[in-house]
């Protein structure tokens, strides 16, 4: 099932002008397999788009080898490539007065004749693509009436109608809201399994990529490209190293990133379950370290979901009952000065 379809050897990407050779990235060694979703991650300007453009033969490589399905990329003609690589781009195409199915039908262009007329077989393939992306409800709509997420799904259906073994997507989720991002990524993951296509996409949605992608490529200026499953990269420290910077913390237990808060004060937190974690999260955001391992006089009792409200215990005061976290935080803020500093507790 899993098969290497793209093999990259010592590849250099960049731009050639008359008297200048601008290398964006070099010494890239990697391969991409079919039946998998591979995500390319990296900061802006590191050369993700250049790499994708080079792989799609939109611009020439500066050196090295790219082998697609066992053959050098350069040995294919434009016509042949249009049947091997399908692309979905970031750019929002401002097409007006075109029906969804007409646009997907244009994906058949490499196969249609001189006038671009679709045969009954072509129509069947278009219907199939619509079915695979589950956008039957969009048929008959004009492109300009679609939301950004729907439009990207239509472009993915176009790539499917193109019947290429390889699909490249350049930040397909860039302008989408969160649910649409998740939907598109899951769709791509499902398609890679169902159709056994090689799907390679660049993205900035780190969290999603780490949860959904089968393979992750980390691209950066100093180390070049590191590849592997998100889990392996997490274990060997590549991920935490890759995004190591102030304010971001890689949580090795979950294999995901979270924001690293700085704590000024501490408080004891008793309880369990969801209520416990929510109070902890809220307090962390406010710079207060909360844990059941902290032994101080001030404490919050959350109980579990069966109990209503929260109880704040302070020395020399009666226990304070509040019903919402918002009130709890306000009460704690009032006494912030009296809380013990977080630094001392760490010792």
């Amino acid at each position: 099932m899993k098969k290497e379809t793209i093999h990259i050897e010592d590849l250099s990407t960049g731009y050639l002008t008359k008297n200048n050779r601008k290398v964006v990235a070099e010494h890239i060694h990697a391969s991409i397999c079919s039946g998998e979703l591979t995500c390319l991650l990296g900061a802006n300007g590191v050369g993700k788009s250049t790499l994708l453009r080079t792989l799609s033969a939109f611009q020439p490589k500066l050196g090295g080898h790219i082998r697609l399905l066992g053959r050098e990329l350069e040995s294919y003609t434009d016509k042949q490539l249009s049947r091997i690589i399908g692309v979905v781009l970031t750019e929002k195409c401002d097409i007006r007065n075109m029906l969804v199915e007409e646009l997907i039908g244009l994906g058949r262009s490499p196969y249609t004749g001189f006038w671009g007329k679709l045969t009954p077989e072509d129509r069947e393939i278009v219907d199939n693509a619509i079915h695979q992306v589950k956008i039957e409800h969009l048929v008959g709509r004009m492109i300009q009436t679609l939301s950004d997420g729907e439009r990207q799904k239509v472009m993915i259906a176009k790539a499917l109608a193109q019947e290429t073994p390889i699909i490249f997507l350049d930040e397909p989720t860039a302008f989408l809201d969160f649910p649409s991002k998740v939907e598109i990524m899951q769709l791509l993951h499902r398609l890679s399994r169902e159709t056994d296509k090689t799907i390679f996409m660049s993205t900035h949605d780190l969290e999603l990529a780490l949860q959904i992608a089968d393979q992750v490529w980390l691209m950066d200026k100093t180390n070049g490209i590191t590849t592997g499953t998100p889990e392996d990269l997490s274990l060997d420290g590549s991920l935490s190293h890759f995004f190591a910077r102030k304010g971001i913390m890689f949580d090795k237990d979950t294999g995901l990133f979270r924001i690293d808060n700085e704590f000024t004060h501490a408080i004891r937190l008793d309880g369990c379950g969801q209520k416990y974690s929510m109070v902890r999260k809220a307090l962390q955001r406010n710079g207060i370290l909360a844990s059941r391992h902290v032994g101080v006089n001030y404490s919050v009792e959350t109980g579990n979901l069966d109990k209503e409200g929260f109880i704040l215990h302070c020395p020399d005061e009666e226990a304070l009952h509040v019903s919402r976290i918002e009130e709890l935080i306000a009460e704690i803020e009032k006494r912030r000065g009296q809380l013990p500093p977080a630094e001392e507790l760490k010792k």
């Binding site: 434009d78 490539l81 249009s82 049947r83 195409c93 007409e102 262009s109 671009g116 004009m142």
Partner: protein, 345 residues
């Protein structure tokens, strides 16, 4: 939907016939419909004057309007698609300015240097004008096509085209400054556009050229449809962008050059008709838009010619004013209607 499209297309084709006949019927001299019919069918018995008016004046004018309207509309459609810009039109790349420049050279310089006002040369002068316009337009087009292979972005190319237009206008301005008033008047009249200028053999040549070129430009429909998707997607679907640009710009350029050479710079039709076709047919498929633009372009040119010649105006209204006066409100109306239907969806 499909039936709807076919019906509309037949209606448009019919409208060309109707307006064509009206063009033969109406004019400064009253000729009854029966006589027009008889002359057309070659039935003897009509006076020589009537036959001459119809065969030597009204038929050539109407035929010129039909092919010129169609040519400009197709050129405008192609320009709007290749530049992905709704404001593009046949004149946008400075090709009609090139024609104007050629004509300005001939009209204005011949008076100043040769001492012979061209207006007095008659048929020879007309021929010289046509040739000058074609040479001017085609040289600008060659320049644009060359540039189009060098620069990457469409917007850059568009701006270069507009700049070439400005340079041409500036040179014309300088020429005007040094010319005698009579020549300037002749140039201004040329610039107003007319379907009546072409006559006799030249008209036949013009119609023949266009009858060959128009079907040829229809061969580009698949290319144009792919260009709608933008360069990235089009290229991925196997389209050679450079070659496509070369073909489309050359095709649109030659159409504009020839129409401008024979009729003067006819404004507006090329910009407006593609919008009308899209509005009426609610599609961006060039397999429909191309024939639709040809039909609507021809009809509109015929209507404009009719209005310009309405009894009372006696040819006083230049075609250029009429195209804008008639075309602009129609386009605004269509765009407004489209907006409404979009909002209600």
């Amino acid at each position: 939907m499909k039936r709807h499209t076919t019906l509309l297309m037949w209606l448009l084709a019919l409208s060309i016939l109707v307006f064509f006949f009206l063009n033969l019927l109406l004019g400064s001299v009253h000729i009854p419909a029966r006589s027009v019919w008889n002359v057309l069918l070659g039935i003897e018995g009509e006076s020589e004057i009537v036959t001459n008016i119809i065969m030597k004046s009204r038929v050539p004018q109407a035929l010129t309007a039909v092919v010129a309207g169609a040519g400009l509309a197709v050129s405008g459609l192609q320009m709007q698609t290749v530049f992905r810009n709704p404001l593009a039109g046949p004149s946008v790349l400075g090709i009609s300015s090139g024609a104007s420049l050629g004509v300005a050279f001939v009209i204005l310089l011949s008076g100043t240097i040769g001492g012979v006002a061209l207006s007095k040369l008659g048929l020879m002068g007309e021929l010289a004008l046509t040739i000058a316009a074609i040479v001017g337009a085609l040289s600008v087009m060659a320049l644009i096509v060359y540039v189009s292979q060098k620069v990457k972005g469409n917007v850059t190319l568009l701006i270069i085209g507009v700049m070439i237009g400005y340079i041409a206008s500036a040179v014309i301005g300088v020429l005007k400054f040094f010319s005698v008033e009579e020549d300037i008047r002749a140039y201004v009249i040329w610039g107003l556009g007319s379907f009546a200028r072409v006559s006799g053999d030249q008209m036949i040549l013009f119609v023949c050229i266009m009858v060959v070129l128009l079907p040829l430009s229809c061969l580009l429909v698949k290319t144009l449809n792919l260009l709608l998707l933008g360069d990235g997607y089009a290229r991925n679907l196997g389209l050679n962008i450079k070659q496509a640009r070369f073909l489309v710009i050359s095709c649109a350029g030659v159409l504009t050059a020839i129409v401008t050479a024979y009729c003067g710079p006819i404004m507006f039709l090329g910009l407006a008709v593609p919008h009308l076709s899209r509005g009426i047919f609610q599609t961006s498929d060039h397999r429909i838009l191309m024939p639709a633009s040809i039909c609507i372009g021809s009809s509109m040119a015929l209507v404009c010619n009719l209005i310009a010649r309405m009894p009372g105006f006696e040819g006083a209204l230049p075609v250029n004013s009429v195209t804008a006066l008639v075309g602009a409100p129609v386009v605004v109306y269509v765009l407004f209607n489209k907006r409404k239907s979009e909002f209600s969806e």
